[in-house]
């Protein structure tokens, strides 16, 4: 059998941590090969070695049977390897076309010649139905489109081996479907595809074989068609994983969060992003906001948490009876709000601070952690170690690890640990399980339910309908900035909610008296 890629006995260490331990990994031409593993198992590291971002300490790489040395991404390009990273690597203030051409510019007498490449890119974009707007700036386009830019970037460099690191974590279901079509088209042309994902049903849907890693070691490579989802999960975690969360009936008490007549216009005042949004979240219940990405959920959360300022005078937000419409973020925290932000790298962590420094980022001024302005390092480190233990946060140097070097899933766990351990009465979680492995998702869901049972009020925004169905006590569906439906998860179906999410149906909810299903 000849393989398109063979990585043989690859070992890679960071400090004392062995991220890849003697891993052997082979991909056939035209194959779609999935890599599965817990957060921090070493998936991104292995692929970064193939792409030349890291060099392995030992081991060999063969491309089409030839041994090669890949020292940097330019080498990888030469061997026609392309990669879409877990956290995109695009230049925000450049246009789409400039990003695609960056490093592969066509020049004449030192001047950029964009006409020819533009044609080529347009052709690629049509051929694979990768719709992008070449002249927009990256900062202005959706994550879905950013990903298409990354894919075009690979294709423009004639990549034959395509690596996708968690490509679906940030996409809507529709976008995922589109992406899978494209990937299948690539495979049909004989390109080899490697896809890292935590979603087992995606592996079932698209991959032929799957390699499972656990704590840096190769566990198994299996044929997907004759391996069940349960078996995959078990291989990966090393134990049974339950996909259902056990939870008792909610017992909602007093109103904790109340949003009244929330209206928001876009910057140039041409469109309403939020229209008359009204709802309450009570102590002891989990309210989920479902909806397709881009229907105002992000803005809603930003207004509630104070990341964005509210200008509409009739809009009001109250927390435990106190009007917080225009108070500072710190004040909101002090009044009992906790927030797991949607963008963990931008907001959730100070990436150049260590894990322990990040664990106190919103409580460092509490008496627990400081006295007369002096930080209490012992208390901070004890607190951090307790959270590391309790939430199983894995990293190379424990409390001293720079959070930038942690795996995506462990970064997320760190944020969840911080936000749920702090004293609070309301937990706002935006995409809390994005990028987490199934074991960790199970844990987060249990944590959220436990938070509810501690009589906290919980508001979750999720793009994953499965997640919404499993953890919520009440579902609100958002469509084009409005709440168009309210459901009891026990009395509805995914299909029904889907209709509301796509805007084909809506309920009339009265604005002053919010119906609740109890």
């Amino acid at each position: 059998m000849n393989y398109a890629i063979e990585m043989i006995n690859i070992t890679k260490t960071f400090g004392t941590l062995i991220a890849n331990d003697n891993i052997t990994f082979q991909v056939k031409p035209g194959e779609i090969h999935a890599i599965l593993g817990e957060n921090g198992a070493g998936k991104s590291t292995l692929m970064s070695i193939l792409f030349g971002l890291y060099t392995a300490d030992s081991g060999t790489i063969l491309i089409n049977g030839q041994e090669v040395k890949i020292k940097n991404p330019n080498d990888a390009n030469r061997y026609k390897i392309g990669m879409v990273h877990q956290h995109f690597k695009l230049v925000d203030v450049f246009s789409v076309i400039d990003n695609i051409l960056l490093g592969a510019e066509t020049t004449k007498h030192g001047f950029m010649q964009n006409d020819v490449p533009r044609k080529a890119i347009e052709e690629l974009s049509i051929r694979y139905a990768l719709k992008v707007d070449l002249d927009s700036y990256i900062k202005d386009i959706s994550v879905g489109m950013q990903q298409r830019v990354e894919i075009l970037k690979m294709l423009y460099r004639n990549a034959d081996i395509l690596i996708f690191d968690e490509p679906t974590a940030v996409l809507t279901p529709q976008e995922i479907e589109g992406l899978f079509k494209v990937i299948k088209a690539f495979a049909a042309e004989g390109k080899s595809i490697i896809i890292i994902t935590h979603k087992l049903n995606e592996i079932k849907a698209i991959a032929q074989r799957c390699t499972v890693l656990r704590k840096g070691k190769h566990v198994a490579t299996v044929d997907v068609s004759n391996t069940s989802v349960e078996r995959l999960a078990e291989l990966m975690v090393g134990r049974d994983v339950s996909f259902e969360v056990e939870k008792s009936k909610a017992n909602p008490k007093e109103v904790v969060l109340e949003v009244k007549n929330l209206n928001l216009q876009n910057k140039d005042r041409t469109k309403m992003i939020l229209k008359n949004v009204n709802f309450q979240v009570k102590a002891g219940e989990i309210v989920c906001i479902a909806g397709i990405e881009g229907n105002g959920q992000t803005q809603l959360i930003n207004l509630i948490t104070g990341l964005d300022k509210l200008h509409d005078l009739n809009s009001h937000i109250t927390l435990n009876g106190a009007d917080i419409t225009n108070v500072s973020i710190r004040k909101r925290f002090e009044l009992g709000m906790s927030h797991i932000p949607e963008d963990r790298q931008k907001y959730g962590l100070i990436l150049d601070y260590t894990l322990s420094e990040n664990m106190i980022s919103n409580t460092y001024y509490f008496d627990k952690f400081q006295k007369n302005g002096l930080l209490k390092f012992e208390a901070i480190s004890a607190y951090t170690n307790q959270l590391i233990e309790q939430y199983d946060i894995r990293s190379s140097m424990g409390e001293y690890t720079k959070t930038r070097s942690m795996s995506g899933g462990n970064q997320q766990k760190a944020i969840i640990a911080r936000e749920t351990s702090r004293e609070h009465h309301l937990l706002i979680a935006a995409q809390p399980t994005r990028g987490l492995d199934v074991g960790a998702i199970e844990y987060v869901h249990k944590t959220i339910v436990a938070q509810r049972d501690l009589n906290h009020a919980i508001l979750v925004v999720s793009l994953e309908l499965d997640e919404v169905m499993t953890i919520s006590d009440r579902i609100l569906v958002m469509y084009e900035g409005e709440i168009v439906g309210e459901f009891d998860p026990l009395k509805t179906t995914v299909e029904e909610i889907g209709l509301y999410m796509s805007g084909s149906k809506r309920m009339e909810l009265s604005t002053d008296d919010i119906p609740s299903i109890h």
Partner: protein, 381 residues
């Protein structure tokens, strides 16, 4: 922690710093700077022996006599404080290129208090120095405010404010009631506001030294302490690393940025007090020229990689080189050439400090790797 334990810890960390690779890198940076300086001497000197003599002067001049050494320390004080000013802002993600302006305004404040207010000795000095801090802080506050309010880049505001400070000082200082000694200040108009000398001039007889160097060292330690151990340092650095994440965490971003610029300005102001309040003060360059000390401060911060304790040494070093360059004039190098040589050395050091940091990173990675392979090898046996 007792004071003694604190000192002990400090000595231990100093030892560690000296034996670290950062220290060797700095050493190489400095040598390469001196080497390039020597090449220029060779090009401009009348003979080889002349150039060698010049180099010898440059490198030993500062040690030549106790009085010379005293003077090196004496003029290091303002340099250290300006270096701290740049480094402090840098830790909050701001580039304080306006230390010159803050220094000049601080100087005006110090001179006004020194000449127009009468107070008993020592107290007069303290009040004048505090006034200088306030003056510098105001000059730092402006770019900070403009940055957070109108998103104006602090570099641009700082550069413009340097000019405003230069012209303001012409207006303010050429007021006979304040400062009418022209440009060669030897007489003292404000003896009560003088910096106390604490007998240091007995230690370094014949030099101008006073307690300013002790003040500078104390302030450097204080700044190190603030950045490392306090909530203030924690939030300032957080803002420097990520404004978005700081905002999310409820850290008042705007307030911290303004505060950082004010502290940086205050440090530059204090530097001016150390410069203009000694018994033999530097003359005030009031001829509408920007005092270059702010730019020297950038080099000093850079050489020390913005580490407050390192800045004590880089400040003294720059002062040492400046004194040596002055002495070179006795060997036929004219003033312009010595300033060129000095600037080249400073630039080279700054550049190699950059390169050094890069090499350090690579070395560290390699070392970690080989260590691990060793460990694993052991395990296999």
């Amino acid at each position: 922690m007792t004071f003694q334990a604190f000192i002990k810890k400090l000595v231990a960390s100093l030892k560690k710093a000296v034996s670290s690779s950062a220290f060797t890198n700095t050493f190489f940076a400095i040598s390469s700077g001196v080497l390039v300086g020597f090449v220029i001497m060779l090009l401009t000197a009348s003979s080889l022996s002349n150039a060698v003599n010049g180099l010898f002067r440059l490198l030993t001049g500062g040690f030549q006599s106790p009085s010379m050494l005293g003077n090196v320390l004496f003029s290091a004080a303002p340099l250290i404080l300006v270096g701290l000013s740049v480094a402090f802002a840098f830790k909050t993600g701001l580039f304080n290129i306006g230390a010159s302006g803050q220094f000049m305004i601080g100087g005006i404040f110090a001179l006004y208090v020194a000449n127009l207010v009468s107070l008993p000795p020592v107290i007069h000095f303290i009040v004048a120095a505090l006034a200088a801090i306030v003056g510098g802080a105001i000059w730092g506050f402006i770019p900070g405010l403009l940055k957070v309010r109108y998103n104006v880049n602090e570099v641009i505001t700082c550069i413009m404010l340097n000019y405003v400070a230069a012209y303001t000082s012409v207006m303010a200082v050429e007021n006979p009631a304040v400062y009418d000694r022209g440009i060669t200040a030897i007489s003292i108009d404000y003896p009560t506001a003088e910096i106390p000398r604490l007998g240091l001039n007995q230690l370094f007889p014949g030099s101008y030294i006073d307690m300013s160097i002790l003040i500078a060292i104390a302030v450097a330690i204080l700044i190190w302490f603030i950045l490392k151990k306090t909530t203030l340092g924690y939030q300032l650095k957080a803002v420097g690393f990520s404004k978005d994440a700081s905002k999310y965490a409820g850290i008042p971003v705007s307030r911290n940025m303004i505060l950082s610029m004010m502290i940086a300005g205050g440090l530059a102001g204090l530097a001016a007090a150390m410069n203009y309040l000694p018994a033999n003060p530097d003359y005030f360059r009031s001829f509408s020229q920007i005092n270059p000390i702010g730019f020297e401060g950038i080099s000093i911060a850079l050489i020390a990689q913005s580490h407050p304790i390192g800045i004590i040494f880089s400040g003294i070093f720059i002062s040492f080189i400046k004194k040596g360059a002055l002495l070179m004039q006795f060997f036929g190098f004219n003033k312009e050439i010595t300033s060129i040589i000095m600037s080249v050395i400073i630039y080279m050091i700054s550049i190699s400090a950059f390169v050094g940091q890069f090499i350090k990173k690579r070395k560290l990675m390699k070392k970690q790797k080989s260590k691990l392979i060793d460990q694993r090898g052991d395990a296999n046996v």
